[in-house]
Each structure stands twice: as structure tokens, then as C-alpha cells.
Amino acid sequence: DAGITQSPRHKVTETGTPVTLRCHQTENHRYMYWYRQDPGHGLRLIHYSYGVKDTDKGEVSDGYSVSRSKTEDFLLTLESATSSQTSVYFCAISTAEETQYFGPGTRLLVL
């Protein structure tokens, strides 16, 4: 347990609505990541952060934005949710040794 929580844990929303997922960590790690996991695709990086207000895109960033105004919180926003964004979303932190540890995940269903 790397002190990572995600909220909400489950969400059902409708196409076109904005959605924000929150990742919170308690151990002051510099690096944080958002992944999505889908059958047949494994885990894919959406965005990551290497410090407060410092973020960059991953391989599947289209349709997503992130913000990090405090070390402990990393927010993922779907500006206008689509059915293709139905997925399980994992947040992760990276230790100084560069091992990544994952939060419990958020199941998102976009109808």
C-alpha cells in the first residue's frame, strides 16, 4: 500500500458529460501517472506528472486533461465523456527507485 486512494471508485455517466477522477497520495511522491486498462490492450498511459503543475501526455491522451495543483492530488478530466472511454482507470506513483505502485482503480461506465 503506497498510500494511494482514488475517487470515485465506480461511476456511471452519460455521453457528453464532463467527468473528473481524483487520485490522492499521502507520501509526497513527485511522479504520478494515470493509466486506463481495457481487455486486449493492457495498461496504457494517459498522462503523467513530474511535479506540481508539470504534466505531459502519454500514449492515449486524446480526450483527457489533467491537473496537479498540489503534490498529493492528480486529477484526470474527461471533458466530454464518450462510450470509448468506458474503462478501468488506475493512478500510480513512482518511488525514487522508479518502481510504480498503483491505486485501487476507478470503474467508469459511459452510457
Binding site: 493492457g42 495498461l43 513530474y50 511535479g51 508539470d54 502519454g58 522508479e98 518502481t99 510504480q100 482503480g105
Partner: protein, 115 residues
């Protein structure tokens, strides 16, 4: 583009069997290879490998990296039903200013251990 391929994609064994899971990779500026176990929840960390030929061991699980062959194996001996899970391999390569290793994941290997 970095690439991680795991094989087989799935396998079924009986309790007590020994299994070997494979991971091969193509990555720029290789830094590390990690193995995770995923049951019906978040991936949990098993091993991190950075040096070729040095085995890492934890109980019945062990893993080794071969940088010449760009591959790694994860061995599980005397399998138990509790070993049933998806095993993920990920490779880290440094990219970009301020960027710690970003991981590229394989699609995972689904292991089912039957009583």
C-alpha cells in the same frame, strides 16, 4: 515506439506444476523491467530487474533478465490456486525532461491454476 510482448497469453496448469512466463521487449534507453501480479483489483508489484543475469527471488517466484536477448522470465514453482492471476510485464525507459521512467506494459498473461 516501445514494445513489450508477453507469452503465452494464457495458460492453465494444475496445482504443483512449475510455470515459466515470458516477456520480450524493444525499448529505447532501457532502464528497468518490472513484473506485476493482478488479481481482480490493482496490479501489485513483484520484481524490478535492471541487471542481466541476476535472479530475484521471493518465495516460489523468481525472475531473471537477459539484456542480450531483450527478455525476461518469471518462474513460479509448486503453483497454488492463489497464483491464479494476470501477470504483467512492464519496461521502463527514460524520456523527456523531468520524466522518471515511463512504463510500457505488455498485454499480460492469464494464469489459471486448477486444484
Amino acid at each position: 515506439e516501445d514494445k513489450v510482448v508477453q507469452s503465452p497469453l494464457s495458460l492453465v496448469v494444475h496445482e504443483g506444476d512449475t510455470v515459466t512466463l515470458n516477456c520480450s521487449y524493444e525499448v529505447t534507453n532501457f532502464r528497468s523491467l518490472l513484473w506485476y501480479k493482478q488479481e481482480k483489483k490493482a496490479p501489485t508489484f513483484l520484481f524490478m530487474l535492471t541487471s542481466s543475469g541476476i535472479e530475484k527471488k521471493s518465495g516460489r517466484l523468481s525472475s531473471i533478465l537477459d539484456k542480450k536477448e531483450l527478455s525476461s522470465i518469471l518462474n513460479i514453482t509448486a503453483t497454488q490456486t492463489g497464483d491464479s492471476a494476470i501477470y504483467l510485464c512492464a519496461v521502463g525507459g527514460r524520456r523527456g525532461t523531468g520524466a522518471n521512467s515511463k512504463l510500457t506494459f505488455g498485454k499480460g498473461i492469464t494464469l489459471s491454476v486448477r486444484p
